[in-house]
Symmetry: C2
Subunit: 415 residues, 2 copies
């Protein structure tokens, strides 16, 4: 198929975009893309490609923007239930303790998720994935972390694998057994850390080798934060994971600076995520590393917190910056990467072009898939969007809606 | 038609909700609504109404929330073009003067709107109205104000009238000739004020009596703000308008406190809108008046400004609080009232129930239509939404998406 007449075809060609280089869209005006066998076979202007492939069936993009599908590199999409009651309590002025006493907090999602069958978990998640697709996300990272015991975590992982196999959304799995300290270990986080290292990680590895032989291992992630896992516990878990061969991610510096970002760089993690309270020295270290800095602007927004990731400092230091939705039931139930872009423009001071690159090619780098997705270049997956507007700068500028008209995944229009 | 099986039917019965009374949803669990001849004929539980109207054709709401359509009481939806280039310049750190020199600002929308034919203006606006409808807005106030000369203002008014007649979106028109001082009068705002009073308002009245005889007059609104119209000019325009019989609205205290809110109360305006820098004394006065306080949270959000309407103080003073999108191409291109609700929860500290009442019955009061719309009560228009969720608190809690599954306007499903 030859997609023609894109007012702007955003190729995002040339790999992940570091530091001030962020925002190279590789715009082809009156652009076209040749799609064959689920992949991009060629990009160019409409006259060029129409001349080169005169018999190829055409699809007229109607003077609209064509761009790579969004890659959402940090989500907690697999869960059961919701926390709307807790949101209301917060707005009624109830204290953290009152909310906990009423059954709120992450533990409430853990209970709902543990209680859900695989089918329920998949059904609730599938509905979210459909909405994310319609909003233009064609690949999403998805974490476990609402099980907090081996079998429940593996059930979440199974849901991720099965939903990925089912498609059309492509999922990048992450094991986040160290998302929170479960109630049973409330007074013994070190004991839970030992459980993660000695039991969970080896079992995840064995399970994976049996269920998904030959597939790259999932990421292992830790929530390094006051009230969750301290730096020493985080280090212990990530080092164990690395020794087993897992690639790494870290939740770092969301509320407090515990040193998680520095650890991510030291251990060669694929990404360090949140990064609100990151120190200047750690920003420098990130800037010199290949660890992608993933900003999650929906989370401070969801909490009405005024502090966002210091994106300009990260860019000045030469970092590879990505943005993600952080979709989760506690702080940011947002299924629309376009809204993450609107926040990134306003609160990270990214231009629309920078936000687009952060949500495509750089987001692909954050999940180790920059060779396959995140740009429209020959050989890459034909994961692309046709917007309902003719200028990419409408993304970020408009907010609260959906500017995606059509979504193609692996060469098939799925919306 | 009998709509049945609403997990929660939100009636919003009982008229506009003043002060701490805000948030009375009038929930009927397992609710039903009888719709006849475009109006609500009865509401009750599903068993009650099914027993009373056994032969009425049914529509199964499937265990989802049924609620009144959103009323958006402050928009600038009729315009041509966009200002995405200006948004990008701002993010690139360009100054206000550089943006003006590049043709930015409200004057750029005035130029595009003056240059547009009636058909173009209607076509661009119609597309926005369609999207607003799909997001659940069934009635919207729409202002002129991008003409700034008599004929161009009347062309905008004509677009509003014709689009209202075309439906299905119902429009409440407002004349905003005093939206900005046009370039020709740059050094003579008093001269432009005289033009508005002596020429525009009488011509609008004569035009209206000819084009829409018997229809209630449109609102007259003034942007009372530093750089636009000062308090004396605002008073002159609004008093002239009132003497001609027009109902009033005021843009007050968006950036500076000039006394617009107090003037709105003094003159008995239907609403005072923005209200970010309103003084405690004016909040007290609003609280004792029938002038609806319309918060526009999308505007500070769009500008990434930290200051929002002091909604809690307005409620404590006994005010009637509404929320609106302020849809406009400069500061807030947002076509989704659900996003205004999400902001109102976070930045005005409204509960979802309060935000829903502010966006339905109180918003209807802000445009003088609380007798016809804004609640599901016998005799009112059958303007209602079926959400894709079973609990109203999902509104506000989730953000960036669209939770509206079906939209009914005047008894017909239109989406």
């Amino acid at each position: 198929m030859l997609i023609t007449n894109a007012s702007q075809l955003l190729t995002l060609a040339g790999g992940p975009q570091r530091g001030p280089d962020l925002g190279r869209l590789g715009i082809i005006e009156n652009g076209a893309a040749l799609v064959r066998a689920g992949r991009i076979a060629a990009v160019g202007t409409t006259p060029e490609l129409r001349y080169a492939f005169p018999d190829e069936p055409g699809y007229d993009a109607g003077g609209m923007v064509v761009m790579p599908g969004f890659v959402d590199p940090h989500t907690h999409t697999v869960f059961a239930g919701d926390r709307a009651f807790e949101f209301e309590m917060r707005l009624q002025g109830k204290s953290y303790l009152e909310i906990m006493a009423a059954g709120g907090g992450i533990i409430s999602t853990v209970q709902a998720t543990r209680a859900a069958s695989l089918e329920t978990l998949k059904a609730e998640t599938r509905a979210r994935l459909r909405r994310m697709l319609r909003n233009g996300t064609t690949t999403a990272e998805v974490k476990t972390g609402y099980g907090l015991e081996t079998q429940a975590e593996l059930l979440q992982m199974q849901a991720i694998l099965e939903l990925d196999a089912e498609g059309p959304m492509e999922l990048a799995p992450t094991f986040l057994g160290a998302h929170a300290v479960p109630a049973r270990y409330k007074d013994d986080p070190a004991g839970y850390t030992t459980l993660v290292c000695k039991e969970m990680l080896p079992e995840v590895l064995a399970w994976w080798q049996q269920r998904a032989p030959g597939k790259p291992l999932p990421f292992v992630d830790v929530f390094c934060e006051t009230g969750a896992f301290d730096l020493a516990q985080t280090r212990r878990i990530l080092q164990t994971a690395r020794n087993l061969g897992f690639p790494l991610k870290v939740h770092a510096d969301e509320f407090d600076n515990l040193g998680g970002a520095g650890l991510a760089v030291e251990l060669g993690a694929a990404s360090a995520d949140h990064l609100v309270k990151t120190s200047p020295a750690e920003i420098e270290a990130l800037g010199k590393s290949d660890t992608v800095a993933v900003a999650l602007p929906c989370t401070p927004f969801g909490l009405a917190e005024p502090h966002y990731t210091p994106a300009q400092a990260i860019l000045a230091a030469g970092g590879v910056l990505a943005i993600a939705s952080d979709l989760n039931p506690g702080t940011a139930w947002c299924e629309n990467m376009q809204f993450a872009l609107a926040l990134a423009c306003r609160y990270l001071r990214l231009t629309p072009a920078q936000a687009i690159a952060a949500a495509t090619i750089n987001a692909a780098a954050a999940i180790g898939r920059a060779e396959q997705i995140g740009s429209l270049e020959p050989g890459k997956q034909a994961d692309l969007l046709i917007l309902s507007v003719s200028d990419h700068r409408q993304l970020g500028y408009r907010f609260g809606g959906n500017l995606v008209a059509r979504v193609m995944k692996n060469g098939e229009f799925i919306s």
